[in-house]
Amino acid sequence: MPLAQTATSVPVTVNDDLCIADKGCTVCVDVCPLDVLRIAEAADGSKTAYMKYDECWYCMPCEADCPTGAVTVNLPYLLK
């Protein structure tokens, strides 16, 4: 029973220029009640937060607690 690769738009976006994951910041990943954010490491070694799982309650701690204002919570398309 192979698994499909179905695309889905995710509600949380991160501005890479503002994100300080490089400096060890994991605030947004830490505070998410549903644990859907992760830190991605690019080929050049730079790091940035991103939404890995589309399981969002659009509650906003990630946006509110981000020290640099890099995170934006949009409403999931299905209910917006």
Binding site: M1, P33, Y53, L75, L78, L79
Partner: protein, 580 residues
């Protein structure tokens, strides 16, 4: 992160608090305060900083019993009436007597309650009889303030561990089995007392948007408390009394009539007229809401467009900053404006939550469950209509009582075989090469909940649900497949959700009468006080399936006169379907 590791650690503590949302932190603080030597551990599957129903805050208290505005007796009376009489009053009365002390404590924590221009509590009148609403202007800082207190008290906090089963032995609680949500490593916690504050079963019904996480409750509250209590053998009360709430359609967040109400806003039908007869937030009120939606007079709206610009701006400030701040984004995206038009409302998917109803793990006025040493508080315990302040207050009761309980006991022995069996159960989806992902198991369960369990309740439909749930269970146990530890957490939640769905169906079939308005509107039965003026207690039967018994409602400590019981029915124009 997220890879599946093999590991098992065991730790000991005096009191294990599971759930770091609202009731849990207060329980931990109170236990530690009463017994500073006690080793108190607070565990959460998320991060205590931002976990639980009030993750982003809360805009106000809607059940504050403040001297001068309401009395504990009056409050107890109203809650009894709102719950159609089925209520052990001792727990409600104790809450009502002690919640003011908790308000003052929260105030000391730095949580602000609205004060007038002279610095006195600015209690708002919403309910017909008593006055209980107290807005919280900096309600967005609640979790921060709680976390600060936990750190100051040096409570041991464990984040990102999900408790999956309770351990019992010697006829009492012995601890809990937990799994790391990011590594799948196991943690066995031996404890002399366990306090559960795991919140509502908020992912039971499927929201109309179809988005699994677009729920009324915080979607991380998937009902583990109910499932764990069930498997440990505790009694659960009145689960047929579902939670269904009015909400902003699609956004699925609370409409907060109790914020807008004192400022002149109200719920209206398509003609812009008020239609809700009921004075209490109750199943009766939801029945009226449902009737209006279904009866051709809908849609139903939140009406603020008759208010002055200045008033609307004030309401917006509260509603869009605190509790669910994305609500402002939602209206902006839709181009809807409270000033210009009414905002469409709907009713929520079903769930279990005593915050707004009366179901949950059975507890007494000390937050004790039917298992010695095991406590429950907040949305998952059956103290009716306890909302956020009830979670704090009953959490405090649990913490204080547990501190006494551990003084006289040692760890209870338990069977290590239980741990091995649980590891096998939990890890099964990681041992397969392919299969059904947890989101599909969950979606199907919840879709069936909507199809067959949502009121009005029909016997044949609920029996069909049970049959289909069994099929899903078979698929889940034999074929669920996960690729990482995050998916494993979702798989465990899917299993919990299915347990809750089973309990919802079984409990609803057992009570062969209609009660609590829409919450338990069984179309084939009328209200039947003679046979059903009682709690229904659901436990796990010998056969591993839900078993039921009736339990007397304890004699009232606050008398309700006959004419008070139906004080408001008399004022109706015509009775609605469930007003019997």
């Amino acid at each position: 992160m997220d890879e599946i590791l093999d590991g098992l650690t065991q730790i000991d503590c005096d009191i294990l608090v599971i759930g770091g949302g609202t009731a849990g932190p207060m329980a931990a603080l109170k236990a530690k305060k009463k017994n500073p030597k006690a080793n108190v551990v607070l565990l959460d599957k998320a991060n205590v900083k931002r976990s639980g129903a009030i993750s982003m805050g809360m805009d106000g208290l809607n059940n504050s019993v403040i001297p001068g505005y309401a009395t504990p007796e009056q409050y107890t009376k109203e809650i009894t009436i709102a719950n159609d009489g089925i209520c052990d009053q001792a727990a409600v009365l104790r809450y009502a007597e002690e919640c003011y002390g908790i308000i003052r404590e929260l105030d000391d924590f730095g949580i602000r309650f609205q004060k007038d221009q002279n610095g006195e509590y600015d209690v708002k009148k919403v309910h017909h009889i008593g006055t209980y609403v107290l807005p919280m202007p900096n309600g967005d800082t609640v979790k921060k303030a709680l976390y600060r207190q936990l750190r100051k008290a040096r409570i041991n906090i464990i984040n990102r561990y999900m408790a999956t089963r309770l351990l019992t032995g010697e006829g009492r609680v012995a601890g809990a089995i937990c799994v790391n949500t990011r590594t799948a490593e196991f943690l066995v916690v031996r404890a002399k007392a366990v306090i559960m504050g795991l919140g509502a079963a908020g992912r039971l019904g499927l929201p109309t948007s179809g988005y699994l996480y677009g729920t009324y409750e915080n979607a991380s509250n998937s009902g583990e408390g109910y499932a764990m209590a069930y498997h440990a053998g505790a009694g659960l009360a009145n689960l047929e009394c579902y939670q269904i709430n009015p909400l902003i359609k699609d956004y699925n967040g609370p409409a907060c009539a109790y914020v807008a109400g004192p400022m002149g806003g109200y719920t209206a039908n398509a003609k812009g007229e008020r239609f809700i007869e009921c004075d209490y937030w109750s199943g009766q009120m939801m029945q009226e809401f449902y009737d209006e939606l279904q009866g051709g007079k809908g849609p139903v709206y939140l009406k603020l467009n008759h208010l002055a610009e200045e008033t609307v701006a004030e309401i917006e400030r509260v509603l869009h900053i605190v509790e669910r701040p994305t609500r402002g984004h939602f209206h902006a995206g839709r181009g809807t404006d409270y000033r210009k038009q009414m905002i469409e409302m709907h009713i929520s998917e079903i769930g279990f939550c005593s915050g707004h109803s009366a179901s949950g793990v059975f507890v007494d006025e000390h937050a004790r469950t039917t298992i010695p040493g095991l406590y429950a508080a907040g949305d998952m315990a059956n103290v009716p209509h306890n909302y956020m302040l009830g979670a704090f207050t009953n959490g405090a009761f649990a913490g204080m009582d547990a501190a006494d309980f551990i003084a006289d006991v040692d760890f209870a022995d338990f069977d290590m075989g239980t741990v091995d069996a649980e590891r096998t159960r939990v890890m099964a989806p990681t041992k397969r090469d392919d299969g059904i992902p947890p989101n599909q198991i969950e979606y199907k369960t919840r879709r069936l909940v909507n199809d067959y369990l949502q009121p009005p309740k029909v016997t044949a439909k609920m029996e069909l649900a049970q049959k289909r749930f069994e099929e899903v269970r078979e698929d889940m146990e034999q074929g669920m497949y996960v690729r990482d530890s995050h998916e494993l957490m979702r798989a465990l939640e899917a299993s919990t959700i299915l347990d809750c769905a089973d309990m919802a169906a079984a409990a609803s079939l057992y009570r062969t009468e209609s009660r609590w308005g829409l919450y338990h509107n069984r179309v084939e039965y009328e209200r039947d006080d003679e046979n059903w003026f009682c709690h229904t207690i659901l436990t796990k039967g010998e056969d591993g399936k839900p078993a039921h018994r009736k339990q007397d409602v304890k004699p009232y400590v606050v008398e309700i006169a006959e004419d008070e019981k139906d004080a408001y029915y008399k004022q109706r124009v015509e009775p609605s379907v469930a007003a019997e």
